[in-house]
Amino acid sequence: MNYPSQTRALWTAVISVPLLFVAIAALQVKIDATTRAYTPESDELLLRSGSAVRQMSLGYDSLLADIYWTRAVQYYGSRAGIDGVKFDVLWPLLDIATTLDSKLIVAYRFGAIFLSEPSPAGAGRPDLAIELVKRGIAENPDNYYLSGDLGFLYYWRMKDYPKASAAYLEGSKIPNAPSWLKMMAARIAEKGGSLETSRMIWSEIYESTKDKTVRDKAMEMLRGLRAQEDEAQLDELAQEYKNRFGHFPASTSDMHDAGLLRGIPADPAGYPYVFGADGKSGLDPQSPVVIPPKLNPPPEESK
């Protein structure tokens, strides 16, 4: 091949290849749009049996478990927060991941969160979350974190305080388990459902995790619990205000003017509390604080 011909071929490629890449990328954007429009959201999983997948893994079950766990995270992440969404394949994915690698602690712990969170933040299946964590405990009896998680699920999601206390107590018996597990067991047995106990559990979660998402969630719950506690106190003071003046206060300023409050109380996000016509305090509509659902109060608090 002569020199000009070589040079011509080279220059044609140098000029055309980048242009073609740009055209290909633009076309890919169009294909993505077409594919999204015609491909139905499919929640299909060819193999739902973990043991079947294990047999087909040819000894690479640990790697496959990682892949299945990653898919579970992606599956959850792509759906969480969307109203009306279903998480039909979440349990099979977690089931397969933990069957393939029974030591995959992260799958038990985070999988339980994904399953137990109420919709649309999660699958709203605390029963399956408990099954998953129980399986994790059976496979990893020396892991006290899983016992803590089980206690949390019974306490927060199922509101079954005796079982929650028992789970924490079981965890506290594991060698090298932290002392707070025993404290938690005793605390729940004594005062299950109290704001104080809830705060203790979430504080422990906040302190013990390194994961940012879980820490953020724990902080959100702690802020919500604080607001819940503030509201309970404000409601009591509003009743006292009514006893004095014959009507409920319109705002916290009224209570401050009446000398019932030293300052204007604000929620953890800095927004002042507001009052309804029924004298019940509440959060400012602009406030990002979320009040967690109320648990069954212990007998002494309900009196």
Partner: protein
């Protein structure tokens, strides 16, 4: 198209047809489809589904194996057997030789796929005793598989221009697997929320040939209509990528010292 490309393509096709491996693969694919009938007999309600899935998968896998293993040897074999020198002594340019070789293998794959499609159609008729209107999706899926072959063959040919068959196979397979998981690569970037990883995965997503585009097997099995817009978009996508690879292959091959 140059008049010299045709004879090279025809000769490549003839050479491939003479190759016994080719017949074995066709036979094997037909055996797979036969096995699908047996699977259909022992399962309930999914006979058609199994046959379509297994048939299209077999067509895809055997075609890909052929595209890669024959494609990587297209240029190398000619150099190794020294037949290239006598060819290039004739009034034929190097790019014409490459395009001819490429077209010849593509023709082989098309003929091979046609036979396998026939086998699939027979198997499908055997279990259903009739064809359905939605079966048109199967033909579209097969067309997409052919587009996939065109891309893989171009990749294999490109690598075979400057490296050994072994390495060409590894590179082609590597890019093919990356392309199949292109969607997942992009998802990983989206989930990490790390701007650097996001930029890398996005670039990779648009850079590697996206073989995920051509996967319509599930849609065909469930009788889902495939929009015409996707057909022309995929056709154009494959054509552009093949043009890109052939241009790059021509540039590399034209500068290669064959002495």
């Amino acid at each position: 198209m140059s008049a010299t490309v045709g004879p090279v393509a025809i000769n490549t096709f003839r050479e491939a047809v003479r190759d016994r491996v080719l017949y074995n693969l066709v036979l094997f694919a037909l055996m797979m489809i036969g096995a699908a009938i047996l699977v259909g007999e022992i399962s309930i309600g999914i006979e058609r589904l199994v046959i379509i899935n297994l048939g299209l998968t077999a067509i895809s896998i055997f075609g890909l194996v052929m595209a890669i293993f024959i494609g990587v040897g297209l240029v190398y074999k000619e150099i190794e057997k020294r037949t290239l020198y006598s060819l290039l002594a004739k009034p034929i340019r190097r790019w014409e030789f490459l395009v001819g070789k490429y077209a010849g293998l593509l023709l082989t794959l098309a003929v091979n796929t046609a036979f396998m499609t026939l086998g699939l159609a027979v198997a499908l008729f055997y279990v259903g005793r009739h064809f359905e209107r939605s079966d048109a999706s199967i033909l579209v899926a097969i067309y997409f598989i052919l587009l996939e072959f065109a891309l893989v063959t171009a990749l294999a040919l490109f690598f075979s221009c400057f490296t050994s068959p072994m390495l060409s196979t590894l590179y082609t397979l590597g890019i093919y697997i990356t392309g199949v998981f292109a969607d997942d690569i992009r998802s990983v970037g989206d989930f990490t929320r790390n701007p650097t990883i996001l930029a890398v995965t996005r670039t990779l997503y648009y850079l590697v040939p996206n073989f995920h585009n051509f996967n319509a097997i599930a849609a065909a099995a469930h009788g889902t209509a495939i929009p015409f817009s996707l057909v022309w978009q995929n056709t154009l996508y494959a054509a552009l990528y093949v043009a890109l690879l052939l241009l790059a292959a021509s540039a590399v091959f034209s500068r290669r010292n064959l002495k």
